[in-house]
Structures are given as structure tokens and as C-alpha cells.
Symmetry: C2
Amino acid sequence: MNSFKDKFSEYISFTEENLKRYNSTLPSMEAQKNLIDAMNYSLEAGGKRIRPVLVYAFCSALSGDYRIAAAPAAAIEMIHTFSLIHDDLPAMDNDDFRRGKPSCHKAFGEAMAILAGDALSVLPFEIISNDNDLSDAQKIKIISYLAKAVGREGMIGGQVIDMENETRNDVDEANLRNMYRHKTGQLIAVSCMMGCICAGADEAKIQAAAEYGFRLGLAFQIVDDILDVTSTTEELGKPVGSDEEENKTTFVTLYGVEKAQEKANAVTDEALAHLEKFGNDSFLVELTEMLLKRKN
Amino acid sequence: MNSFKDKFSEYISFTEENLKRYNSTLPSMEAQKNLIDAMNYSLEAGGKRIRPVLVYAFCSALSGDYRIAAAPAAAIEMIHTFSLIHDDLPAMDNDDFRRGKPSCHKAFGEAMAILAGDALSVLPFEIISNDNDLSDAQKIKIISYLAKAVGREGMIGGQVIDMENETRNDVDEANLRNMYRHKTGQLIAVSCMMGCICAGADEAKIQAAAEYGFRLGLAFQIVDDILDVTSTTEELGKPVGSDEEENKTTFVTLYGVEKAQEKANAVTDEALAHLEKFGNDSFLVELTEMLLKRKN
């Protein structure tokens, strides 16, 4: 059995390899090459690749061969990347930088960034439906959960809640939890669910993985809120203090750093408790703790 | 057997009914309600509903019950609507009106329009995967063809070609045909293909339907080019002469109205020839001719 770090590196390499492979095609015209360049620019901008790692980790925890999950793992990272490209647009968060590099619309222009995001929102369904390892029943289950996690009742619904919260002064913890559950939690939960489906798990296991994922997603987001005030721009790779500047309500503005950290710890403990149904898989336990203690 | 007009009306009513049904959900928060309102605003803005009608017509032409195709028919209209919402954005075509009504970003703001388009790009995959009438094998085939028709090698690829053509003076007929084939042709072709898949057709029939669809799509686009100079703003529901104003290359700028009309007739004849494999289905023949002779 590999150590946590070896396994983590193996998952990341496999992710990078597949993202390249799935987004390569023979463009029939120069114009399409530019689109694919814009998609790859953002896909390859790095990031933690937490979502694909979760897909692989849940598949492995249920004794599945994680390589069978290549398509859904790449798919979830494409969806995440699409959401970042559109989030950064001038009409949205208007961020000129992402992970220390110019954001997609800064590098390729606004129209191309909109289209690159659009193309990354549908490519996941192409690669899952064309996969040769999964059964039709598995693919349909994955697509059904994935599309719902992305759409109006999922991540995009969460972005709308976030946007409308900016005009409000009465955002409380319940609202914030609901917003994070949709905006971040849904994609993280569905990553865990897809790993289970790839391993042939039953619905009870799939739902247990979702429960873990929602809690991990919330802990992840509370830690984000904390790092925005305690980290440095260098460590974080993006400007710190942006939440306060944008007048955003976060766990830190509601409770202060110390109590927010307590809440992150408590939600992480809840997440860990759900791993009992996965035999307290050591990789998943270490991953959960690593995300709580991360510095960026 | 119903007359063409009765059948056409029946297909349109069924489309409208299903678009409403598929986009209704119980929003958990007010914010999501606003997103669904923006999606419905554009979905209900009208349009010809040609794509869903083609799905139903091909299913019927192969003796299938067209009602089985409700999900893919709604899906293709959602994809079309998503593309119009994003096309109209300031960074893209910057159109303030669509079908005589303020465009989505004028009515709901730019951020909400981006998100409404995004949500309409994934909802199709949710409703197809959750459909109760089609088999898993049919759903996977539909999703695979649909996602490809939308993405970098399909409609979105075509939008990129269109965008880059605006900066060029050397756009010739081959380029224009390729751009139209991607930007318009792919969605029309996949509509025909999905109707065949719903009827349980084999791959040869599916490909024959695609061949018809690409030609219908091209004829449709050449007629569009002609109407831009021969119609009135009232008849067309949008400003005429916009192609010339935007310095766009079209079949009319390349060949003039008369020769463009000859080309539209010739491509329509090619489309009709492909209907032989569908027993020259009378509804499809009439639909093809109606689209050639349309005034808006």
C-alpha cells in the first residue's frame, strides 16, 4: 500500500494526463484551435484537483480500480474550471487574476472566455457518455447526479444566492451554509458520489458519500474564509482581505477567526464520522485532515 | 392523418408544455426563483421551435410515438436558448433585443444572463438522463451526439469561427459553409438524429437524418442572409440590414440576392433528396419547403 503522499501524487498525475487527453481533438480550423487553447489555458492553470482526487479516492475506498473513474474525474474538474472562468468575468466577480496568472478573459478576451466556459460545461457530458469502461447504467446515473449538482438546484443556483447576498445586510449562518452547500458543496458531494458509482456501490453508500462531501465542502469553505484574513497573498496565490473589501459576509465576519476555526473543526469531525461507512479509509481520513490544515 | 398545419401545431403545443414542465422546480430560496425566471423568460420568448419539431417529425417518420421524444426535444430548445442568451451579451453580439423583447441581460442584468445561459446548458443533460421513456442505451447515444453537437467541435466551435471571421476580409464560400455547418447546422442535424434514436433507428438511418439536417441548416442560414436584405424590420422581428452594417460576409454579400436564392433552392433540393430514405415523409417534405419560403 502506498503512503498518502504517493497515492495523492498518483491521482494528480492521472488527472493531469486525462485532462490533456480529453481536451485534445483535431481542430478542423484555426479558430477552433484558439478555443481549445483557451480551454487548456484554464484547465492547466493548476488548482488543487481536490474534486478528481475525491472521485478516485471513493472508488478506491470501495475496492474499485480508480482508473475506471477517469472520465467523471476529468469531467468534474472541467465543470469546476468552467465555473471559475465565468466567475472571473467582468460582469461577475471581475477578477483579473486566477492562481497567479491572468484570468481567461484577460488572456483571451471576454467573448472567448465566455465560449471556453460554455464548451467546458458540455464537454463533461461528451466524455462520460463516450467512456468505454463504465456501463450505460453507471453513465446515466453519473450524468443525472452531475447535471443536477451543476445546475439551477446546484452550483449555479449557489452562485445566484451568492450574487444576491451581496446586496443584503442580513446574511446569517443559515443563509451562508445554504449558499456554500450549493456553490461549493454540490460539486464536492457529487465527486464523492461519482467515485462510489464507478465502484458499483449501492444507493445507501452513494448517499453516505454525499453526506461526507457536503460537510467536507462546508469545512473547506470555512477554512477559505479564515485564510482570507490569516494568510499572505504570497501563500494564498490571490489577494488576501478581499472578502472584507467586497463587504462579503463570511464565517469570519459573523464569528471571528477563532470561533470560525472551531466551526471548521466541528464540521470536519462530522465529515470524518461519515467515513465510518467507508471503513475509515486511511487515505480519505488523511485527505480530510489535510484540507482542514491547508495554508492555501 | 392530420394535415401539416395540425401536426405542426400539435408539435408546438407539446414543446411549450414540456419546456414549462422541465424548467419548473421548487426553488429552495428566492434567489433561485430569479434564476428560473430568467431561464423561463428566454425559453418562453417564442421562436420557431424548429429544432423540437424536427425531433418529433423524424421520430414520427420512422413510426415512433413522438411523445417518447419529449426530453430530447425540450433539451435541444434549451441549448438553442442558452446560445442565444450568451450570443446577445455585450461582450459577444451586444444585442439589446431578441424577438422584439429586451434580451435576457437587458431584462435581468448581465451576471444573471450568464448564469441563466449556463444553467440552460446543463439542464438538457439532467432531463434526458432522468427520462422514463427512453432506454439507457438510447439516452447515452443521445447525450453523446448532443454534447458533441454543442461543444468545441459543434455549435460553440462555429461561434468561434464566426467571431474570428469578423476580423477577416477573405471569408469565402467554403469558410462560410463551414461556419454555418458548425454554428447552425450541428444543432439542426442532431435534432433529426435524436428523433431517429427515439424511434429505435439504426446507425445508417441516424446518419441519413444528419445529412438531411446539415443541408436544411445551410438552406435555413442562406435564407436568413437573404431575409436580412429583403425583409422589413416588422416582418423579421429584428432590424434588417444588420449583416451589412456589421460588415459580415454572407451568401448575399458574396453572390447577391438572386444567386443566393438559387443556392438556397439547390441546397433545399439536396435536403429533400435525403428524405427518400424516410419514404419522402410528407410532413418533413412540407416542413422543408416551408422553411425555404419563410418570411421571417
